[in-house]
């Protein structure tokens, strides 16, 4: 099993979500985060003092996936999250040892 962490643009969340549902994933967990990367932040002026928020709002999507579907899901995210401009985000993949479904005590592939 793999743990897939995708950082995407907030306004792409809906597209990614629709796409992943199409791909038949059963669940995911979403967090509001702030990101720093090659994307430059905009500068605002407040009462004459300019300021820029170095950190840009992003959405982190975490999904536990089986080995089989890993490639397909990465594909799906890349496709639905891309705009081509800096700031589109990244996907990171790591291994999970175990998974449990609290409600049923099911484990591993049955749990996700």
């Amino acid at each position: 099993m793999y743990w897939l962490t995708a950082i995407v643009r907030p306004f792409k969340l809906n597209d990614v979500y629709d796409k992943l549902i199409d791909e038949g994933i059963g669940g995911m967990t979403v967090t509001e985060v702030k990101g720093l990367g090659s994307q430059r932040s905009t500068t605002e002026v407040y009462r004459g003092a300019s300021y820029s928020n170095d950190f840009i709002p992003k959405i982190k999507i975490e999904i536990a996936v089986s080995e089989d579907s890993l490639e397909r899901i990465i594909e799906a995210i890349v496709e639905s999250a891309k705009t081509g401009k800096p700031g589109d985000g990244k996907i990171f993949v790591s291994k999970i040892q175990q998974a449990y479904r609290i409600r049923t005590n099911e484990i591993d592939l049955d749990a996700i």
Binding site: P10, F11, E32, E44, V45, Y46, P57, K58, I59
Partner: protein, 414 residues
């Protein structure tokens, strides 16, 4: 000093105190609209709608001072339809029962009210500059012209003896509220709905960001309306006036109460929950309804009328969504539909015909809708009325004002 001179002087003072404090209450309604609208939009458009409300009030005051008041009240022919352009805030006429400045102050806050109605309906997608330019036309010309036709003793409002139609609209259900709604409607039609509002999946709810502001705005408007309707008696220097104003306060309050309750009942019956935003729309619709004649119904009738207006406005909110007229705050239903109801209920308590009232509505609607449409259309052609899709996505606060309303609270709702 003789008694007559004393009576004259004191009456003059009575009217002044009464109109100035009533006017202060009407001015306060600008805050009410601001809070109500700021609570009903999403947080990313909050600063912009506050800015819009503050600036429209300011613009209305200046535009009406420079031109609007002159068009509406100065040197016009009785029962006519083409206004003259006399200029004259300063001159208090010989024998006047209150200072000219007081008249002006009470009238100018009404203009701002009419304009405030527009800002809510076009919220979350209009350019600030386009809105402000429209405001100038509305408050300097469009509203004053129909104001002359009615309160200015033009062809609609002058009494039948004076050659007019005797249209009756005590404090402006039609003249102020319907007019505001018509200007809003023409703008909304040209502007289109908020992105994502209507789709094949149906109407997408876009919940307002701040309910305490909605309630606060409603209470402010409710309070201010006492001055709006009460002050429209214009003089308070006789027992008759006192009786009238007492009745107006009572009826205004009762109609609002009835409107809130009717909307509560309908919301609970139809949707199963007490939707606060519909309840406040109900209270305001009750107020709009009674405004055409707050001085003549019995208190029981006031309750009835407020309830009827609120009920009809309740269904109108849904109707406009059905025909894809996107009005984030329900302004067109509350001020337009209930405004019509209010004007058409006048014949039940006053000696005026339904036909006269109907013609009044038709003329006001046609004029304000038509003239507004022309102005909106010209603005659209020349500079555009709508912010870009990307700006709409990120919110008008960023694109128009450069500052967020709640910079520390909001997650990436977008």
């Amino acid at each position: 000093m003789n008694t007559e001179a004393l009576a004259f002087e004191h009456n003059y003072i009575f009217n002044t105190i009464f109109l100035l404090f009533s006017g202060a209450l009407v001015m306060w309604m600008a805050a009410g609209f601001s809070m109500l609208e700021a609570g009903l939009v999403r947080s990313k458009n909050t600063t912009e709608i506050l800015t819009k409300n503050l600036l429209l009030y300011a613009l209305a005051c200046i535009a009406y001072q420079v031109l609007g008041f002159d068009i509406m009240y100065v040197d016009n022919a009785t029962a006519g339809w083409l206004p003259s352009f006399g200029f004259g805030i300063d001159a208090t006429a010989e024998g006047a029962t209150q200072p000219r400045e007081v008249d002006f102050f009470f009238q100018v806050v009404f203009v701002a009210t009419a304009m405030s109605i527009v800002s809510g309906a076009v919220a979350e997608r209009m350019k600030l500059s386009a809105f402000l330019i429209f405001s100038i036309f509305m408050t300097a010309v469009i509203y004053p012209v129909e104001g002359y036709w009615t309160w200015g003793a033009g062809f609609l409002g002058a009494s039948v003896e004076d050659g007019g139609m005797g249209f009756s609209d005590f404090a402006g259900s039609g003249i102020v509220h319907l007019a505001g709604a018509m200007a809003a409607l023409s703008g909304v039609i040209l502007l289109g709905p908020r992105k994502g509002r209507y789709s094949s999946k149906g109407v997408k709810a876009m919940p307002g960001a701040n309910m305490p502001l909605v309630a606060l705005g409603t209470f402010i408007l409710w309070m201010g309306w006492l001055g709006f309707n009460g002050g429209s008696q214009l003089t308070l220097n006789s027992i008759e006036d006192a009786n009238a104003v007492g009745k107006i306060f009572l009826n205004t309050n009762a109609a609002a109460a009835a409107g809130a309750l009717v909307a509560y009942l309908l919301s609970t019956i139809i949707y199963g929950k007490a939707d606060l935003t519909l309840i406040v729309n109900g209270a305001l619709a009750g107020l709009v309804t009674i405004t055409a004649a707050p001085d003549s119904p019995t208190p029981a009738q006031a309750v009835l009328f407020g309830g009827i207006g609120a009920g009809i406005a309740f269904f109108a909110i849904n109707f406009f969504d059905k025909i894809k007229i996107d009005d984030p705050v329900g302004a067109i239903s509350v001020h337009g539909v209930a405004g019509i109801v209010g004007v058409m209920l006048v014949p039940f308590t006053k000696d005026v015909s339904f036909l006269t009232q109907f013609i009044g509505i038709a003329v006001i609607s046609a004029w304000v809708f038509g003239a507004s449409f022309v102005v909106w259309f010209a603005i659209k052609k020349i500079m555009g009325v709508r912010i870009s899709e990307q700006d709409e996505y990120h919110g008008a606060d960023a694109s128009e004002c450069g500052i967020e309303a709640y910079p520390e609270f909001v997650g990436s709702q977008s």
